[in-house]
Symmetry: C3
Subunit: 316 residues, 3 copies
C-alpha cells in the first residue's frame, strides 16, 4: 500500500528478502534462474496510468518467480468502459487472481480497493500519494552502497509536491533514521515538509541541499503532472535545479547520485553526472526487480498463511 | 463458432468439462493449479475489436493450461496494414498456431476464416452475431445456481437486436428447454423474436418480462454500437429499462441477476441490485475462465484426434 | 545487426540451425515441442516502430525456447518519455535482460546501442537500413525450394530505395552467389545499385526483371514511408509494377513468388498469384519462426561462451 504503514522492522524485512533474491539470481546460471515460488499463481499488472518501466520490472519479477503474468494497460476509460475501478478489480479477483499490481492516477486508489477485495493489491503508484516499491528499491540501493540507512544525509530535489517518489522516499528514510533534505522551486515544495517526518527539512537552493550529502536523489520533472506555468522554462529549471558536476562537488566525496528514471538529460541531470562514477541509476533499476520479486513472494506467502489459518479454523 | 451449430448434447459436454475444470482448480493448491494439457501449444488471442475482459479471461485460461499465449490487439487497420483478415489468420497458422481466439466486428468473421484454415478458430464475438463462450458461461452459472436449465424462465433485457450476447443466450437457452423472454425499447428489439427459438417471446415492459422469472439477465448498453438516437437519453433508458429492487421483487423469490459486464451502475443496474444477494455477476466471471479452459482443451483434443486419424490413414 | 557483417559461412550456419529447428518442431508432438534452450532467459521485444507480424514471430520463437518474453511497444515518445534510446536499453539490460530484439525507425539504431550495452541486441529492422532476419528467412525459403542459393536469379521488385528488406536481401543473395535484379519506379530505385553487391543490377521494367528468374520477390508499398507524390496513384503503380499471371509467365517454369507481408492484394500482387501454386508466402512465415529461434539460440550460446571465458580468465 504505502511506506506510511510499514514499520522500520517491516522495511528491513523486505530489503533483506530482496537482497537474498538478488544475490541468488546473480549466482545461479540461466537454467536455474527461474524460481518456482509463484508457480501456478496469477499476477495481473493493472496499469491504468502508463509506465513501461515499472510495468516491465513487475512483469519480469512475476515471470522469474514462475507466475502467470497478465498485463492490462491503457487509459482508464478504454479499459473499464464505464465500469468502476472496484468492479474491475473484483472482476479480476473472480478470475482467481492472486496479486493485482495497481497503478492509478488517483491518490488512495490502492488503499480503496485493497480494503474491498480478497486479491492482494500491490501499490505501483497512486496519484501524488505513494510509490512504495520505488522507495524500497532506492533504500536497497542506498544500503548496498553505504552499508546502512541510519544517519545518512539524503537530498531529494525536484518537483517534490507532485512526486509520490519523493513522498514515499521521505517517509521511508525518515523512519529508518536518515536525514532528508527536500529541495525544489517554491511552487513545487510542500507547505509543511515536517509532516513527512521529523528529520525532513526544506531547502530553497540546490547547493545548500547537496552540501555534505551522502546521496543526491534527482526527480524527473513530470510535465504531464504540472498544470499551468509553475516553471518559467525547462532551461531556467535546469539552470537552478539541474545537477551538474560543480554542484555535485559540494556533496561528500563518496556521495552517490540517484534518479528514478526515465532521465531527461540536460534537464534534471547533466550527462557528465548521469554517466559519471557516482551515478547508481542502473543499480536502482536492478534493485527494482529484486524488490518486486521480494514483495510478490512475501505477499503470496502471507496469502498462503491466511488461507491455511482459515482452513485450520474450519477443521477445528 | 456459435451456439447455433451445437446440439444440446454438445452444450452439456462443454458445461460438464468446465465444471470439472472449475472444481479441480478450487481443490488444488497454487503449486499444482497449472495443468499441462496445452503445454507446447500456441494460443493466439486475435482481438480486432477491443475487449479487456474477454481477452484476459482467455489469456488466463490458456496460460493455466500451460499454453504459450500471444495477444494481438488494436483496431483492424493497425494490425493488418491493408492485409485481409484471412491472410492475417493464415499467417498466424503458418507460425504453427494451434488455436486462434478471434474477436471481430463483422458478423460471420469467425465462420468465414474457420472454413479456410487448419488452425482451430474459437469465436470470441463476431459483430452482432454470436458470443458463444459468453452464453456457455451464463449457462454454467445458471446450472450451478438452479441445478438445471430445462424449464427455467430467463428474462434478457436491454439492446437485444445489437447484442450477440442476447442472441447466443437465447439460442442456447431455447435449445436446453428454458423459456426466454426478451425485453427492451422497441428500437432495440428484433423484428421476429421467434426466429431465435420456439420458447422465445418478446416483452415491451421490463415488469412483464421479470414477473415470475428464475433469472434476469441485464445487457450492457453498448453506446458504441448504436447509431443515431435510438434511445432518447440514458436517464430515460434507465428509468424504464434499468433494474432496481422494486422491479426485481416481481421475479421469483430465489431469482438471480446476471450481467455480462462491464456494468454501468445507474444505467442498466441499480447498485442495490448489482451488489445485492441475488447478483451472480462475479460467479459469471469465474465461470468464464472455466468455460474457456474447457473449450481450449476440447478443441485441442479434437485437433489431436484429427491428426492421429490422418497419421493412421497415412500408415495404412 | 545486419547481413553486411555476416560471412557466407555465418549465413550458412544460421540457415542450417534454422532448418534443424524447423524439422525438429515438425516431428515432435505438441507436448514435446517446447525446448528448454532459453529456460530462465529474458528476451525483450523492444518495438519502437509497430510491427505485429515480426513481433509475434519473435515472441513465439522466444516462448517456444522457454524464455521469459516481454513486449514493449508503442511509439518512441510514449515509451521513453524523453529518455534516450541508449538509456532505455541500458535500463532493460540492468533488469538482467539477455536479449533485446530492437525495431527502430532510425537506420543504425541497433548498431549504435549494441556497441554500448552488454545485452545482446538482435536487429528486427532499423529504418531503411537492414532487416537481417527477414533476409535469412527468405534465404531459408529459397534454399528449401531450390536446394541452393548460388547461381539463382532473384528479382526484387517495388520500393527498393526505402526498403530494408530489399537491402538485406540484396546483400545476402549477393554474398551467397545469387544474381539479384532490382526493379521499381525510377523514384524508388537506389542511385548506385552496384553498391549492394557485384551481382546486383537494376531494371526499369518488371517484365525484364522477371524474365528467366528463379524467384520473384515483391515488396510491400509502404505508404507511410513515402513522403510526397513519388507514385502517381496506387492504380498506376499496380498497373506497371504489380505482379499478375501474365508477367509471372516470363519467369522460369518452376519459379517461386515471395512477399514479406502483409500483402496488399491488387496492389503489389494479383490474388491469382498470391494464392497460386508458385506462391511460397506462407512458407516464408513458417521459416521466420525457425530463423528467429535459431538466432535467439545462437546469440544465447555466444553469451554463455563469452561469460565462461570471462569466468575462466578470472580463475586462472
Amino acid at each position: 500500500m504505502g511506506i506510511d504503514e510499514l514499520s522500520p522492522h517491516d522495511i528491513g524485512l523486505v530489503l533483506d528478502a530482496a537482497e537474498a533474491t538478488s544475490s541468488a539470481s546473480v549466482r545461479s546460471s540461466g537454467a536455474e534462474k527461474r524460481g518456482a515460488a509463484l508457480r501456478g499463481r496469477t499476477v495481473i499488472n493493472l496499469f491504468l496510468e502508463a509506465s513501461t518501466r515499472t510495468r516491465t520490472s513487475f512483469e519480469l519479477a512475476g515471470k522469474r518467480l514462475g507466475a502467470d503474468v497478465v498485463n492490462i494497460g491503457g487509459d482508464t476509460s478504454s479499459v473499464t468502459k464505464g465500469e468502476t475501478l472496484l468492479d474491475t478489480v473484483k472482476t479480476l479477483e473472480a478470475m482467481r487472481t492472486d496479486v493485482i499490481v495497481l497503478r492509478h492516477s488517483a491518490s488512495g486508489a490502492a488503499h480503496f480497493v485493497a480494503a474491498r477485495t480478497r486479491a492482494s493489491i500491490v501499490n505501483a503508484g497512486d496519484g501524488a500519494h505513494e510509490h512504495p516499491t520505488q522507495a524500497l528499491l532506492d533504500a536497497l540501493t542506498l544500503r548496498n552502497e553505504k552499508g546502512r540507512l541510519e544517519g545518512l544525509v539524503v537530498a531529494i530535489c525536484g518537483d517534490i509536491v507532485h512526486s509520490r517518489v519523493a513522498r514515499s522516499n521521505a517517509l521511508l528514510l525518515g523512519k529508518m533514521g536518515a536525514e532528508v533534505r527536500l529541495c525544489g522551486p517554491r511552487t513545487m515544495m510542500p507547505s509543511v515538509p515536517g509532516a513527512l517526518g521529523k528529520t525532513v527539512r526544506a531547502f530553497g537552493r540546490l547547493e545548500d541541499a547537496v552540501r555534505g550529502a551522502d546521496a543526491v536523489m534527482m526527480l524527473r520533472i513530470q510535465k504531464e503532472r504540472l498544470e499551468g506555468a509553475t516553471i518559467a522554462t525547462l532551461r531556467e529549471y535546469s539552470r537552478f535545479f539541474g545537477l551538474g558536476p560543480r554542484v555535485l562537488d559540494l556533496a561528500k566525496p563518496d556521495a552517490i547520485v540517484m534518479h528514478p528514471g526515465p532521465v531527461q538529460r540536460g534537464v534534471e541531470l547533466d550527462s557528465l553526472v548521469a554517466d559519471g562514477p557516482k551515478s547508481v541509476i542502473l543499480d536502482q533499476v536492478a534493485a527494482g526487480v529484486a524488490v518486486r520479486m521480494a514483495v510478490l513472494e512475501l505477499v503470496s506467502r502471507a496469502r498462503d498463511e491466511a488461507s491455511s489459518n482459515v482452513a485450520a479454523k474450519a477443521v477445528s
